[in-house]
């Protein structure tokens, strides 16, 4: 199979996020980036499919801080080829990113009859929409999102899509197709740092030159801001033993102790 995984860097939300002075973007000074979590699952799903059916896994990313590490990590995990598009992801809305990636896949030979494009289902900054359906629309390919399982056979994929309440449904789709991956069938694999270092020494990241988008952002963003402190929780403070005492009182108030 010809498997492509689209990797995107997002701010690590464990860190404090601040809005820059213009009120339009995040203050990049202290931002730490990490791979968008569903994209990590998409990579794992691609590697599982390759192990079962053979083929190649190509990881593709726009330029972003720390993205080289992520691309080399993907190669160390079993990816065959890494491609970086030297257009900065920062400042691009999802629609513009989808446009750039659609141009990448429009190159002759990129999409073969056994191709699956595997972006993550959604990213935490997808204000303009998700990459997977936007890419599918641009390339006129079938799309299913919130995917948590993929089986392939005879030019088709059988996909498990999540609904609510633990309900899932099976869909069948002819390849080539775009699947927005939510969870891989197994937790993303761990790769030792030594292997990543080895990949950094032996492997290369290819570059694909493409035209930057005309309209980096589609939406008229008036402002970004932090949620107001109003309505926040009543904070319980003190040493663990004091906190526990106070929580027991709360639990007693709600008649569960």
């Amino acid at each position: 199979m010809n498997l492509y995984v689209l990797l995107k860097m997002v701010p690590d939300t464990v860190e404090e996020l601040n809005v820059s002075a213009d009120g339009q973007s995040l203050d990049s000074e202290f931002l730490r980036f990490k791979l968008s979590e569903p994209d990590d699952h998409a990579l794992e799903q691609a590697l599982l499919l390759k192990e079962k059916h053979g083929g190649t896994v190509t990881v593709v990313a726009l330029d972003a801080p720390e993205v080289d590490d992520v691309l080399f990590t993907a190669l160390a995990k079993g990816g065959d080829r890494a491609v970086k598009i030297p257009i900065a992801q920062a400042g691009l809305g999802t629609a513009a990113s989808a446009g750039v990636l659609a141009a990448f896949f429009a190159a002759p030979g990129a999409i073969t009859p056994d191709t699956l494009l595997l972006p993550g289902s959604q990213a935490i900054d997808d204000l303009e929409g998700e990459l997977a359906p936007l890419l599918a629309a641009a390339l006129n390919l079938p799309y299913v999102g919130v995917v948590c399982g993929v089986q392939a056979a005879d030019g088709k994929a059988t996909i498990l899509k999540e609904f609510a309440g633990g309900l899932r449904a099976e869909f069948e789709v002819a390849l080539p197709a775009v699947l927005g991956i939510q969870s891989a069938e197994k937790p993303p694999r761990y790769v030792p740092v030594a292997k990543v270092r080895a990949a950094m020494k032996s492997a290369t990241i290819d570059t694909a030159e493409l035209a930057p988008p005309d309209r980096p952002v589609q939406l008229d963003i008036a402002r970004l801001y932090k949620p107001e402190a109003a309505g926040r929780a009543e904070m319980v403070e003190g040493a663990p033993a004091d906190v526990a005492d106070k929580l027991v009182d709360v639990l007693a108030k709600h008649s569960v102790v």
């Binding site: 079938p142 999102g145 309440g165 008229d220």
Partner: protein
């Protein structure tokens, strides 16, 4: 903003989902503020009996075609585009749900209308429509302005009250004939939820654990607390994805919706997809090392601290209190 507002009714297994009424309520408020009519779009072969329940809309437009039953986003978006053209709708509301995910993006790509995702509030003031969205797992909000009130808005479940969108009256219904292409992804069968050992939707007390619990072994600390409280342990998605607890214990968008008397959120950041599953708990107690964690915006009680440190102490204290 004189163009109609069109709400995409969402159905699961022949029932209208709550999000449909939440959006109709939100749409009605906008309709009153702007003077635009409020329409509902209902797609699929079983549309007729459901249309009668959409009395909050001024009119319901149906496209009745078997291709639209459990159709993929592309097929739904194409039909919805047909209805947008037919009704001249300027604003489309749809659910930020697993069922509808991707429809808004596809409709945006085909119609040229901008999409605003992750929306929690919509206001119409002095001729300007502003959508407030939750980004970065709830850590940042954004206000987006839609020129002339034109656009597609994907609305989070739980952002608007259900009751505001429920009306007894029977709405006028127009059946629209549209050519519907065969879907490119075909529904095969449902895979029913695993029935677990415990039904977390029936518990008075839930001890919810998130990534902050750090290891599978630590889940036992939460089990101990749940046991002494006569409740059960549930979890956020990363804990389930790691295989530390079964899928039947997942709370949130893809998991269960729970309404216990007390919900302890331990090492859970409070991302919107988790929040929508437990927001109606009577009492939410959050424990998190990050004082800026979004869970504190909605919880009733908050503790900034390490759950691994607090859990054993809390369990012991409850044992002691029970013994007295």
């Amino acid at each position: 903003m004189a163009n109609p507002i069109l709400v995409l009714a969402e159905q699961v297994r022949g029932e209208l989902a709550d999000i449909t009424f939440e959006m109709l309520g939100a749409g009605r408020a906008l309709a009153i503020a702007s003077g635009a009519p409020l329409y509902a779009a209902l797609l699929g072969s079983e549309a007729a009996p459901l249309a009668a329940k959409l009395g909050a809309a001024d009119k319901v437009f149906t496209v009745e075609h078997p291709h639209l039953d459990l159709a993929p986003a592309g097929t739904v978006a194409a039909a919805l585009k047909g209805l947008v053209d037919h009704t001249q709708a300027g604003l489309v509301l749809l659910g930020c749900t697993n069922v509808s995910l991707g429809i808004g993006s596809m409709l945006a790509a085909h119609s040229g209308l901008p999409l605003v995702n992750f929306c929690r509030a919509i206001t119409f003031q002095a001729g300007t429509l502003t959508c407030t969205s939750q980004l970065f797992g709830g850590k940042i909000l954004s206000d987006v302005k839609l020129a002339d009130g034109r656009g597609i808005v994907s609305v989070y479940p739980g952002a608007f009250p259900v009751d505001a969108g429920k009306h007894d009256g029977t709405p006028p219904v127009e059946k629209v004939d549209l050519a519907v292409e065969a879907p490119k992804a075909v529904f095969k069968r449902y895979v029913e939820p695993e029935t677990g050992d415990v039904d977390i939707t029936k518990q008075d007390v839930l001890v919810g654990v998130g990534r902050g619990i750090q290891t599978q072994d630590n889940v036992q600390l939460a089990e101990d607390l749940a046991q002494i409280l006569g409740g059960a342990v549930c979890a956020s998605r990363p804990v389930i994805d790691q295989g530390w607890l079964p899928l039947s214990r997942q709370v949130g968008k893809s998991g269960m919706t729970v309404k216990p008397r007390v919900y302890l959120a331990l090492g859970i950041s409070g991302a919107p997809e988790h929040w929508e599953g437990m927001q109606n708990a009577q009492c939410i107690i959050a424990v998190n090392t990050d004082p800026k964690a979004p869970i504190f915006d909605g919880a009733h009680y908050g503790v900034v601290g390490d759950v691994l440190e607090l859990l054993p102490v809390l369990t012991e204290k409850i044992k002691a209190r029970k013994a007295t």
